[in-house]
């Protein structure tokens, strides 16, 4: 079974190495990347089924026993994230191959992209804080290369902000690992559960807040979000899409994992509620002020992070289940919205709302895709966002946190408003494209199919909401009651 647990990391890394060897042949690189990601997606589904049936699985790398060696653990929460992440990575890979210009521009694209995939998997599987750091670095270094891919003036300008902010976050994280080790003598998460609980309250609180800041930079929570809307929209479309869909969620995953395992229930619950509300409001207001499709969507990444933090801040099974479900629905929805934005930009040469109009007549299918994904994001019934937000709002009522419920509902309305703004600005209306100064290009089939597959996945999340929510609920239960996790990891 341990083969299955390591496969989501090992397969993409091997693929990256082989793809690097075959630099001369783009076809071979594409085949390798596709095979690797199909294999990883299959493994992840097998992992999810296995974990759901038989409970937490752990693997001790190199045979070193648990608190000393590197531990890979997969529980329901990480298995769910792994499955959604590999689907998103696969769909964006197909999009990138179909769009052609990304991997033609640089033969490093496929290897680096596979390293990114391995890093994301490793972050979800990490069973100790230091390996989590290494996994983050693996993801981030790949993302630094991807965001500056092409090396144009724009990429370099935005890449700088992105790299510097994330480096700062990583440095804080590393310093925190040192502090955690000094305080407890271990970095293994399962081992830490008891040892952090035995720490004096003040020390535990400081460590918890340090970790929150370190992951907060990556998750783009308030007030550490400012790097995101500047840096995401200028990267190439597939890269923006995969960053939007996954990278912030990896940060949220780390926040959820550490805050529930190590610092609940007397953790920073009140603080997290305030952060959640501010993240939602600032994100959505930022989106309303923007006039470019990709920038609007980038600000919405931030406001949606607020919902996940809201579910976490409630520290109840229903709240966490809402947060987990929200993350599951968010990955395909967000990624597909950016892919549609990319298709529009490629066909018309712009994503500026004041220059676009009436796209629904020019590209009806793509418009429908945008419409479905946008309604899912805004949380209109019966789409997946509605189920996720309903779960969160109910959890908020259960915890009598009226303020956060009110904020989340208002932000939901504003999200709908800003989706309608994109719809009216770019898609609806007469088929005039006055502001567009390049000839209109029909959307090509493969990228459209990739976006459609993700929208289909989002719709599937809505259709299969009941079993999926059941899974999320069991995952949340595992987050609040860590005994099974600890027992499996520390099993002699």
């Amino acid at each position: 079974m341990s083969i299955l647990v390591t496969a989501p990391i090992v397969v993409p890394i091997l693929g990256a190495g082989v793809a690097l060897v075959f630099r001369r042949s783009l076809v071979v690189q594409r085949v390798i990347a596709l095979v690797a990601m199909f294999a990883v997606s299959g493994t992840n589904i097998a992992l999810l089924v296995d974990v759901d049936r038989r409970g937490v699985r752990a693997s001790q790398v190199g045979g070193w026993p648990a608190p000393f060696g590197i531990t890979l653990v997969v529980d329901l929460f990480s298995a769910l994230m792994l499955v959604m992440a590999s689907f998103a990575i696969l769909a964006v890979l197909v999009y990138a191959i179909g769009q052609r210009d990304v991997d033609r521009a640089s033969r490093s694209f496929h290897p680096v992209y596979l390293v990114l995939a391995a890093g994301v998997s490793a972050s979800f599987l990490a069973g100790d804080l230091f390996y989590l750091f290494v996994a983050f670095e693996m993801t981030l270094i790949a993302s630094y290369v991807l965001i500056t891919l092409g090396g144009g003036a724009d990429q370099v300008r935005t890449g700088m902000t992105y790299v510097v902010m994330n480096l700062l976050g990583s440095t804080i994280f590393l310093a925190t690992i040192g502090l955690v080790y000094a305080a407890t003598g271990t970095v293994n998460i399962a081992d830490l559960v008891d040892k952090v609980a035995a720490l004096p309250d003040g020390v535990a609180l400081v460590l918890g807040l340090f970790l929150l800041v370190a992951f907060g930079v990556k998750a783009a929570i308030f007030p550490l979000f400012s790097w995101l809307p500047d840096s995401y929209p200028t990267a190439l479309t597939p890269i923006t899409a995969i960053f939007a869909g996954l990278l912030t969620k990896v940060g949220v995953y780390a926040i959820v994992r550490t805050q529930t395992f190590l610092f609940a229930p007397d953790g920073a619950s009140k603080l997290l509620l305030v952060i959640a509300a501010l993240t939602m409001v600032v994100g959505v207001l930022g989106a309303i002020a923007q006039n470019d499709m990709k920038r609007i969507l980038s600000f919405h990444i931030i406001s949606q992070i607020g919902y996940m933090i809201m579910g976490l801040a409630l520290f109840t099974v229903s709240g966490l289940a809402g947060a987990v479900f929200f993350m599951v629905h968010q990955i395909p929805v967000k990624t597909s919205l950016f892919l549609v934005g990319g298709i529009v930009e490629r066909s018309t040469g712009t994503a500026g709302l004041d220059r676009l109009e009436g796209l629904v007549r020019r590209m009806p299918f793509v418009s429908v895709l945008f419409f479905l994904a946008a309604l899912s994001l805004a949380g209109v019934p019966p789409f997946s966002g509605f189920v996720a937000k309903l779960a969160l709002v109910e959890a908020g009522f259960d915890g009598s946190q009226w303020a956060i419920v009110a904020v989340s509902l208002v932000v939901s309305l504003l999200t709908l408003f800003s989706m309608i703004k994109i719809w009216n600005g770019a898609f609806w209306g007469a088929a005039r494209l006055d502001g567009v100064n390049v000839p209109f290009r029909r959307p090509t089939p493969v990228p459209t199919a990739a976006a459609a597959a993700l929208v289909g996945l989002a719709l599937f999340v809505a259709v299969a909401a009941r079993p999926l929510y059941g899974l999320a609920e069991r995952a949340a239960f595992g987050l609040l009651d860590q005994r099974a996790y600890v027992a499996e990891v520390l099993r002699p």
Binding site: V134, E137, V163, L174, A175, G178, Y181
Partner: protein, 132 residues
């Protein structure tokens, strides 16, 4: 004593690092990150307890030092080395493109700031008109 010295050195390195990272020029940021990384690596070593003992079992008599923080520091060193190289490349590329390595403003941010400024000016003009 050594703990205090370590703490002081870490503090100074991190302070210098933060000061340099706040600069707009990328070369200074690179140096700042090198300082920060050194500071944090020393912190990792300090987390391992008293210095002076050998990190390997069976070499010399007496207690051995904790090898785990040293392994952390080694890994972190490699990562920070790679990142420094990457940042320097980015600075060089920026210099190639713009003859400068300063972090530029975002154009959309500038646009929105300009809208705000125009609105302020318009309000100012109206208010002075009403006053008259």
């Amino acid at each position: 004593m050594t703990v205090l010295v370590m703490a002081a050195v870490v503090g100074v390195l991190v302070a210098v690092g933060i000061y340099l990272v706040l600069d707009r020029s990328l070369t200074r940021i690179v140096i700042g990150f090198a300082m920060l990384a050194h500071g944090v690596n020393l912190l990792l070593l300090a987390a391992g307890g008293r210095s002076g003992a050998p990190p390997l079992l069976g070499r010399g008599q007496g207690p051995t030092a904790d090898p785990l923080p040293q392994a952390f520091a080694l890994t972190a060193l490699v990562i920070s080395f790679a990142l420094t190289a990457f940042l320097l490349t980015l600075a060089f590329r920026s210099w190639q493109l713009t003859r400068d390595d300063e972090v530029q403003d975002d154009p959309e941010d500038r646009r929105i700031a300009a809208i705000g400024r125009r609105r302020d000016e318009a309000n100012e003009a109206r208010r002075s008109g009403e006053a008259r």
